[in-house]
């Protein structure tokens, strides 16, 4: 305890020194300056924070409520599960940044978009563990309920609900900072008040102290939310809530029919939703409009060219960042296992930082590394790094102790154990993290492009939103979501091949 307190003090001192030393560079604000800014602008901060927190809380309740309802539906009607998973994934892959302006025109001014984005940011990470948890019940327990002549309802009440609780809690915990992130992204896209609005203002004004102060507060709030839900859960549950790293793979990968069915349902919901809401066709574009904008309309070629060029630009940032984040996360995890002394220092920090929505610090990365490729690639890499590190560490420790004993009885050293046992045992966690990080990295890259770099698909979304080119905006959202889903699916396919060898029980 005292050691970590000392560590924090030391970090603060270093930060202070660096901030003072780099005062002319205009990138880094020392803690004292941040504290001073916060003190002088306490009223402004409090109002903005209150606004964002309220939106985040509403979104948290709505998103998690929807997740529980959907999981219940999937359990009650097993055939709907593939459809629910498919649609949920599609929505999860929507680029939040561009969804914001669309929601803005749907809801008009007010809090609607922020709340909706907060809800969108949380439902998936709650739904997927919950679906797993409701089924992660030993068959013998269900047989027990059946052997006393009780039906599925009793099984749900007495066995499944309780067994799923740790999974639900794990989802709720990850959701707390994610809701804050969603609300902030919603505010980036044209709200009147809130932390996101202040962040935009600080960036435009190049106000280093304000940018750092906002990022610090956002980070602290996100961590507090994560820790608070964790503490509540620890009090309510006798067993420690399981560490939920990433969604396990779908039990049965959707066959081609499922994919077609999900695609058809998505189109129907999209088109039908617009009709039901009675939105003006000027800004509410349906699937047919998007198809026309990309194929038959007079500016189809221009639209395609704009999207293609932007996507290429984005890929140049996204793919190296994604790969670097995965490699760094897995590499550091292995290093920690080889040098256990390091773990005491690294793991608490990593667990804490994993909970931070890295996007809230995007302005900092831009300040530090500029608006060029380096800043964007770094941000994507950081976004991917922390979840990968935590997942890989957990995976490396999954290696059964008995097997390690056998290795030890042949005098196999730590490196041998790492290569032969721990890394293969880590692969399932690594691939799960890689899969879940596809939409996360797309979110990261589009946010930076939207906010800062003026390149790539995120910038196309920003431009088309401000120019009211809704054909292009909806097309960009649709294409990005589709590519995210494809990337997610591709990693998922690779994952299944790996799991078939390294963790066949997970596919059962």
């Amino acid at each position: 305890m005292t050691r970590s307190a000392l560590g924090i003090l030391l970090a603060l001192a270093l930060w202070e020194a660096a901030g003072r030393g780099l005062a002319e560079a205009y990138v880094l604000a020392p803690p004292s300056a941040i504290a001073l800014w916060l003190w002088q602008n306490a009223g402004l901060m409090a109002r903005a924070l209150g606004e964002t927190l309220w939106n985040a809380a509403l979104g948290y309740v709505i998103g998690n409520g929807a997740a529980v309802a959907l999981a219940g539906l999937a359990l009650a009607w097993a055939r709907s599960e593939a459809m629910i998973r498919g649609l949920a994934l599609l929505v999860f892959c929507l680029p939040l940044v561009a969804t914001g302006p669309i929601l803005r025109v749907v809801f008009g001014p007010g809090d609607g978009p922020q709340v909706a984005l907060a809800a969108l940011a949380v439902y998936y990470t709650t739904l997927i563990p919950l679906l797993v948890g409701l089924r992660a019940v030993p068959e013998a327990w269900l047989d027990l309920v059946r052997s006393y002549g009780r039906g599925p309802l009793q099984a749900l009440i007495r066995v499944r609900a309780r067994a799923a609780l740790p999974y639900l809690v794990a989802g709720l915990q990850i959701a707390a900072p994610a809701a804050f992130l969603g609300a902030m992204v919603g505010e980036f896209t044209g709200a009147e008040r809130g932390m996101g609005v202040l962040t935009l203002r600080a960036m435009r004004a190049m106000d280093v102290e304000m940018t750092w102060a906002l990022a610090t507060v956002a980070t602290a709030i996100a961590m507090l939310g994560y820790l608070a839900v964790g503490a509540l859960a620890a009090r309510a549950l006798s067993e420690a809530p399981s560490v939920m790293l990433a969604a396990p793979p779908a039990r049965r990968g959707g066959g081609p029919w499922t994919v077609l069915l999900v695609a058809a349902a998505a189109m129907l919901i999209w088109a039908g939703g617009l009709r039901l809401l009675g939105l003006s066709s000027f800004f509410a574009k349906g699937p047919l409009d998007v198809a026309q904008a990309l194929t038959t309309s007079s500016d189809a070629a221009a639209n395609r060219a704009a999207l293609g060029e932007a996507l290429l630009e984005t890929a140049v940032f996204l793919l190296p960042g994604y790969a670097a984040g995965l490699a760094a996360g897995a590499g550091l995890a292995m290093l920690i296992v080889l040098v256990p002394a390091a773990s005491g220092a690294v793991i608490p920090v990593a667990v804490a930082l994993r909970s931070v929505p890295i996007i809230t610090t995007a302005p900092l990365v831009v300040l530090l590394l500029g608006r060029g490729a380096l800043g964007t690639v770094t941000l994507v890499a950081i976004m991917v790094f922390f979840p990968t590190l935590i997942a890989c560490l957990h995976g490396l420790r999954q290696a059964p102790g008995r097997i390690l004993d056998v290795m030890e009885s042949y005098a196999a050293g730590p490196l041998q154990q790492l290569i032969r046992v721990r890394i293969p045992a880590m692969l399932p966690a690594f691939f799960a993290a890689a899969r879940m990080n596809v939409p996360a990295s797309v979110l990261a890259v589009t946010v930076v492009e939207w906010l800062a770099t003026g390149q790539g698909i995120g910038s196309v979304m920003a431009l088309s939103a401000s120019l009211s080119d809704y054909d292009l905006l909806w097309s960009a959202v649709a294409v990005t979501a589709l590519l995210s889903v494809l990337g997610y699916g591709a990693v998922g396919l690779l994952e299944r091949r790996v799991l078939r060898v390294y963790a066949p029980e997970q596919l059962a």
């Binding site: 004993d405 056998v406 009885s409 042949y410 005098a411 196999a412």
Partner: protein, 259 residues
């Protein structure tokens, strides 16, 4: 060739204060098979783990051939088989065996591996992964793996628990023959009194935790031992003796419990 094992005041107390093994002085003769029996949780398995160097004693020492266990493990001369087979799930039976041969720096001879797989009755399953095997088959694969390096010291912790009765009888014939041919020092932890008496040259009976020795019984039955030995009157008498020692050990720990 074969190695004796010596325990000098070997003791293990866990950080929480749980005393798993009381200081234990004992000598296991080279090339002999010794069975350790005792109630569940009495610390027998801890003794094996201490001898294998998997745990650090809190007092005393275990020596294999007069040297610390690490000397033997480094040469690949020690092997373990647990009740939990602990096979690597991503390797086939053959690959699991090849792994330890590689670790111990022994050559991979396909014929020898095939012979081992046949010995434990897994013929035709060499290229199968553990997930596709039954519990008993996995245990047999783990036994084959333990035998693969021709270890000088073999530590077996309830390795026959899930093996079916017929295969167990076959193994009870084949394994001692192999140990004898190789002059392997074998320590066998078991719950089965019959297994202890029919397989070994000596049975050590432990009391409930913290373990101390209740009885040390020499099994002077001729080898090779025939099937159905349990019905031999000499053997039956030895089994009775072990059971009596077990119950006296149990009685010791709760002398005034009866009301």
């Amino acid at each position: 060739m074969s190695v004796p094992v010596t325990l000098h005041a070997l003791a293990k107390t866990y950080p929480g204060g749980v005393e798993a093994v009381r200081p234990l002085d004992m000598e296991f003769a080279a090339g002999r098979t010794t069975a350790l029996v005792g109630p569940s949780g009495c610390g027998k398995s801890t003794v094996l783990r201490l001898i294998a160097g998997l745990e650090v004693p809190s007092g005393g020492s275990a020596a294999i051939d007069g040297a610390p266990p690490s000397e033997t493990t480094r040469r690949g001369d020690l092997a373990l088989a647990f009740q939990d087979p602990s096979l690597l799930p991503w390797r086939t039976v053959r690959q699991n065996i090849e792994l330890v041969l590689g670790l111990a720096g022994r050559p991979l001879r396909r014929r020898e591996i095939d012979d081992l797989i046949r010995l434990v009755g897994l013929e035709g399953f060499g290229d199968t992964r553990p997930a596709a095997l039954s519990g008993g088959m996995r245990q047999r694969a783990a036994i084959a793996r333990a035998l693969a390096t021709a270890p000088r010291l073999l530590l077996l912790d309830e390795p026959f628990g899930a093996v079916d009765a017929l295969t167990r009888q076959q193994l009870a014939q084949d394994l001692p023959a192999l140990w004898e041919a190789r002059n392997t020092t074998t320590l066998l932890v078991t719950h089965s009194v019959a297994e202890a008496v029919t397989l070994s040259d000596r049975v050590i009976v432990f009391s409930p935790r913290p373990a101390h020795v209740v009885a040390d019984i020499a099994i002077d039955l001729p080898r090779p031992r025939a099937p159905g030995l349990e019905r031999n009157p000499v053997c039956a008498a030895l089994m009775d003796e072990v059971v009596a020692a077990l119950s006296s050990g149990m009685a010791e720990t709760r002398p005034r419990a009866a009301q």
